[in-house]
Each structure stands twice: as structure tokens, then as C-alpha cells.
């Protein structure tokens, strides 16, 4: 098994599943925290991630296929490509990719999944198309707030003009878009959160 990535929470390996290349994600134990928190978080998140992956796949969201689940491990299909945060789209692809990002969020939310870490680092561009990866912080019984947070995380990470495309695609494709978007505005109005952008610096 070859290690291909290490995140704050888990380590990713390339493995073989039914003689096909696959990705194995293993949640590492953390020595800093109370052992019962450690075990319960890792178990819960593994189970949760598997459920979210399955729901996403059923909803035809471009995402890794769930192959196998163990206590702290998930084996899933490999999506080969470059993550959006490290990808420089060609001029003629930008708006299509952003639209796909919006549609991914819409389909996920309609399927009852909020991603939980919906940032460009978790959008994989494979053969020019966007897929969503890493459901490690996903929730399968999302509140309006959870859904709105998905969009806020993306909004915070990309250019405003790109986000505008994401949001308009989301609005067109998601059944409950208006409620999510109005929650998003409400979150942004909360005092503590408002000045998080650099607007105050530019002033």
C-alpha cells in the first residue's frame, strides 16, 4: 500500500480492491485528546463518511464510489486529477467548472447531504470536469445552516465572480435553494462573522 497523502485527520493510501486501483482512507488516532473522544470521533466520522459517499453516489453526484467500510477505514474508487485549489483552469473552462461546483452542491443538498468542508481543495478536476471528494466532515441530516455553510466555505475561498456562477447554478438546480441562500445571508449578517473578509482592510 502506497501512502499518497496525509491530512490533519486521516492518511490516504493507494491500494487494490478487486484487482482495481482504489483509495484507502484511514483515520489516525490522536494522542492529544481523551481516548473516548478519539475513538468515538473516528468511528462516527468513518460511518458518516461512508453513508454520505453512498448517498452522493445514488444522487449521481460525481464523487468517489464507496467500496468497503471498516471501523476506522474506508476503501473508495479513485478519481485521478488535480484539486481545484491547485488547478489553473483554461479561460473557456472556468464558468463550466464553477457551474458544475454549484450543481454538485445542489444535488448533494437535495440528497440530504451537506459536505462540511466544501472548499476548492476538495473539488477534484478530472478530465476537465469537477468531482467532489473527501466527505470526512459531511453530515447526512443537514440543517439549513449546514447547507449554507457549504456555500459560505466555497465563497470564502474563490473569486467573487466565480462564486456568482456557483451560486446561480445552485439556485437553478437545488429544490430548496432559496431557503439555503437566505440562511447564508443571515449567517453573513452575524456581527462576529461579517468582517472576516478583507473588506475592512481594503477600506
Amino acid at each position: 500500500m502506497k501512502k499518497i497523502g496525509e491530512g490533519a485527520e486521516a492518511t490516504i493510501y493507494i491500494t487494490k480492491f478487486m484487482s482495481e486501483r482504489a483509495v484507502l482512507k484511514r483515520r489516525a488516532s490522536k494522542a492529544y485528546r481523551e481516548p473516548r473522544i478519539d475513538i468515538s470521533l473516528r468511528r462516527q466520522r468513518t460511518r458518516n463518511e461512508a453513508r454520505a459517499l453512498a448517498l452522493a453516489h445514488d444522487a449521481k453526484v460525481r464523487s468517489p464510489a464507496l467500496l468497503m467500510v471498516a471501523e476506522y477505514e474506508i476503501v473508495m474508487g479513485e478519481i485521478d486529477g488535480t484539486v481545484l485549489s491547485r488547478y489553473t483552469p483554461k479561460d473557456n473552462e472556468v464558468s463550466r467548472i464553477m457551474r458544475e461546483v454549484g450543481i454538485i452542491a445542489a444535488k448533494l443538498h437535495d440528497a440530504g447531504v451537506a459536505h462540511g468542508d466544501f472548499t476548492p481543495a476538495n473539488i477534484m478536476i478530472s478530465e476537465g470536469h469537477a468531482s467532489v471528494i473527501d466527505f470526512g466532515l459531511a453530515t447526512t441530516s443537514p440543517s439549513m445552516e449546514d447547507k449554507a455553510m457549504d456555500l459560505i466555505l466555497m465563497k470564502r475561498a474563490i473569486e467573487p465572480k466565480d462564486y456568482a456562477i456557483v451560486e446561480s447554478a445552485y439556485r437553478r438546480s437545488c429544490a430548496d435553494a432559496e431557503r439555503t441562500l437566505s440562511r447564508l445571508r443571515a449567517i453573513e449578517r452575524r456581527g462576529r462573522y461579517k468582517t472576516r473578509t478583507l473588506e475592512t482592510l481594503k477600506a
Binding site: A8, K30, E34, S40, T195, L201
Partner: protein, 328 residues
Amino acid sequence: MAVIGIESSAHTLGVGISEHGRIIANAKEMYKIGSAGMIPMKVADFHATNVRTVIREALGEAGLKASDIEAIGYTKGPGIGPCLRIAQVAAKTIAAEHRIPLYPVNHAIAHIEITKQLFNSRDPLTLYVSGGNSQIVALDATPYLHYKVLGETFDIGVGNMIDNFAREAKLTPAWGSTVAKVAEGGRYIDMPYSVKGMDFTFTGLLTNASKLLHSGSHSIRDIAYSMQETAFAMLTEAMERALFLTMKKDVTLCGGVAQSRRLQEMLRTMAESHGTRFFVAPNEYNADNGAMIALVAEKMHASGSKQNAAACTIDQKYRIDSVRVTWQ
């Protein structure tokens, strides 16, 4: 070059003096918090009554006269309005009287800068935790140098949560070290764990802990232990994510809650497991103090930060990411 700094954003009135980045005085008086918590006007009265004495004390400690001071800083915010006002007015008065430059200092930045200074850590990833605030910050150069907030609490500060719990449990004094003591040897009970990316919330945890407390189903010890372990695990996990994102070489912890031994231990374990250095200042500088205000005022002064009388206001919600860093 000696620069004096006055801090009065919450219950502590502090006056410190910094000379070439060295702290040569750090005097303070603390308002004693009763079971009612902080009553802003009463705390402000306390500061107003003591500010002259503490300034004199700091000058005595440094062996300086008022005329030796080259510049003055005060805490502009964030903090409690009536309290902030006292340091601002005192600093303005002294600046006018001695015709020296006046610098408004961001309280959170002061905590970060004094830790950087003490350990010669130039560019750390910082967890700033106090009563009112809990933020993960690091220097960022775009559009120009400032402390970027990578993650923060969406509701209350972690210190606020702990103090509130202490009051609910009728512990005195109602603050972190008392709760930590009560929590010793506790057993873990399931608590709501709320981290989103690098942000977190604490009210759910507080509500749950208070509910358990009043139900009488568990001991105060077990509840305090579980709440504290959960809150600190949340903060440490968010920091770990930020560390992977920023790839910084140093991790620092500062602010009032940074005095918690358990939180220090957790962050150190996390940081060192990634080959990162970990620094936390002595308690004297994690409690509110004037020395850190003096230090930042000195840095602003030395870097030729522009004098702007209109900016010398107070701002209860003075955001760390609204300050342009001119001294790095």
C-alpha cells in the same frame, strides 16, 4: 527608547513599559469579580481610580520618569466599552501633556506579538483564546500584511463558556483554573462536539453541560472534565487542520485561556507530532497586561506607523484582521 502601554479592556488595569523589545515594567491591578460577573461601569470606576497609581508603579519599576517616555500605546479594542475608555483617556492625556506620539493597539495582536518576541518566533500559527474570543490566526501578505483569521468561534469565546459553567456550578472564583481543578480525575461523558473546518461553536457544549449539572445525573467533576476535554479537543483539532493548511513551522498559544495546562499540553502534543515547535508565554503575559500593549506600540513607533488622531478611538469589536501590520 522607552514606550509605555496601558491596558484596560476587561477586569485588568495594566501598565507596562517596553524598551528595545524588552519588557522593563509590567504593573497591574485586577478588579475582583464577584458572583455577578463583570459589571462594566463598576470595573471602569475601578480602573479610573487606579490608573494613576499603576502608571506610577510601572515607572518606578522601570526606574524612569514620565519625561523619559518616548511614545505611548493603549488598547483600542476589542473589549468592554466603558473599560476601554479609561486607558484611552489616560493615554491621550499623557500624550498631549508630554507631546509624545500615541498609538491605538489591538488587544489580540498584543498577545500574539509578545509571545513572538519572547520566543523569537517570527511567523507562527496562533491560537488566541480568551473570554470573549477564540481565533486561529496567522500572518498573511494579501492584499497587505495582516493577521488573517483562519478559524474562529461562531458564538462565544471558550473562556466565556468555562466561566459561565463555573457560575452555573457555583464555583468560586468563577474561572478556568477553578474548573480545571474540579475536573481533575473526572470520567468522560459524551458531549456535543462542534467543529466545522477550522471554525467552532461552544454554546451547545455549555447548554449540555449546564443541563447535566441541573439534572444531578452526573458529578460536577465528570461534567467539568468532559466539557473541558471536548472544548480543548475541538480547538486542537481545528489548529491541526490550520497547521496542515498553512505549513507554519511554529505554533503559539496565547490569551487568558492559554494559561490552561491541559490546553497547553494538548497543543504541544499535536504540534510536536508534526515536527513543529510550540510556544506559550508565562501566565503573566497571557493574563491581560500592559507590557504587551507597550511592546506593540513600540513596534508601531519604530516602524514609522503614521500618527492619526482620528484613529485613536475605542472599538469594542476591533477586529484583528482589520489591522495593517507595519512592523514585521
